[in-house]
Amino acid sequence: MEHIELFFKSIFIDNMVFATFLGMCSYLAVSKKVATAVGLGAAVIFVLAVTVPLNWLLDQYILQEGALSWLGEEYAAYDLSFLSFIMFIATIATMVQLVEIIVEKFSPSLYNSLGIFLPLIAVNCAILGGSLFMQSREIPSLGLALTYGIGSGIGWFLAILAIAAIREKIRYSSVPPALRGLGITFIITGLMAIGFMSFGGMLTGGDEEVTEEKTAQVETVKKESENEFANNTIIIE
């Protein structure tokens, strides 16, 4: 259940592009055509799904305070979390190269569609942001880290797909000259972000305590009004 919740939360509510503005650079640069946008989006999902769990392991067993205790008692006091930036980015850069080499060897057709985007991804803020948010939100297990990686990847994919589709259509509209290109893309993204904010209430519906309190209040109100009614009838009699 918490997997499903985290999955939808990372796609819609904490959408990488619309809620935290991660990966905006490639989002703006590569969204002129739907086909290329799909390629980059797929590569982002893939790399996030690999690097977030990997960095979770690094964080749990090397970087966190006391994480080194598996080496022996005397290491328990070490706190290497100041190294996390450099470790995360090194992991991401090497993983991206590794993935590129593997994909090139085993699936040339996939390489042809994804390959040119892979180097771009090493410096995509969405990838590092995924790992840093994973760390700061203290995601508890490896499975959840994987879910979070895939979910945020899909969220980013949806965002770039949507803006690419809009930009293909907007070519036929008459935009004020000074807004053409970059300006109108910013404003459209802003409007889309407002739209995505409405997903914010999606996961708050199941809060049982609140509803119980409300029903209790309604009951007391009913009783009071009944009493009043009774009093009134007595007065009338």
């Binding site: 100041f82 450099i86 807004l179 290109g181 904010m197």
Partner: protein, 215 residues
């Protein structure tokens, strides 16, 4: 400008307007938008980027002849990451509250495209002094937009600037609030950052029509 030749001065002044990293080169937008809800955070972010980009450009430029081109991205990332760790530790030591507001976005300076972009486009092909000027110019251009966005969002969103109540007190109804003015809380939410940047781009391009794109 006795100290700088004309060409060197152009390295600093160009990115401020006609070759602005955010509005023209489309670099470094991620961090520009997320932290601009208050002016103070924007200023700190601008200064951090100034430090990282100015120094990083010099380091990369000094190493440009010994970096093998195949692994240059990893080398660049390590240089940036080291500088960013310094910034992060300094912020945590001297401005702890602020470093909590900026949260992961300090770390995200590493993947700020301005930095990688300037390393690739300038520092790898020019000497240290020019690279330093280019770094300073570009981070100033970035800072100008950041501070402009932060200014409008904080002023219109919470009626304050750097925490001072410049428009009067909303609870005691003084200043502008006495005549029925209300804060626009929407300015504090993330979508408005995009729209404010969009409007800045609009104004800049209507003033300088040479920058207009062809759709």
């Amino acid at each position: 400008m006795g100290l700088l030749s004309k060409k060197d001065a152009a390295l600093i002044t160009d990115p401020l307007a006609d070759n602005n990293p955010i509005t023209i080169q489309v670099l470094g937008i991620c961090s520009a938008l997320a932290i601009t809800a208050e002016l103070k955070a924007s200023i700190v972010m601008a200064v951090s980027v100034l430090f990282v980009l100015g120094l990083g450009n010099v380091v990369i430029s000094l190493m440009r002849n010994i970096i093998p081109s195949k692994i240059r991205i990893i080398v660049q990332l390590i240089v940036v990451a080291t500088l960013v760790i310094i910034v992060d530790l300094v912020l945590k030591a001297f401005a702890y509250e602020l470093s909590k507001t900026l949260s992961v976005f300090v770390g995200l300076i590493i993947t700020n495209c301005i930095i990688m972009g300037r390393f690739e486009a300038f520092a790898l092909g020019n000497g240290p002094w020019k690279s330093f000027l280019d770094g300073v110019g570009n981070s100033l251009g970035y800072g100008v937009i950041l501070i402009a966005v932060g200014f409008f969002r904080e002023l219109l969103g919470s009626g304050t600037l750097l925490g001072y109540k410049v428009l009067g007190d909303p609870i005691e109804k003084t200043g502008l609030y006495a005549i029925g003015y209300e804060n626009n809380g929407f300015m504090l939410l993330s979508p408005m950052a995009l729209i404010v940047v969009g409007i800045i781009i609009w104004i800049q391009r209507s003033r300088n029509t040479a920058l207009i794109e062809e759709n």
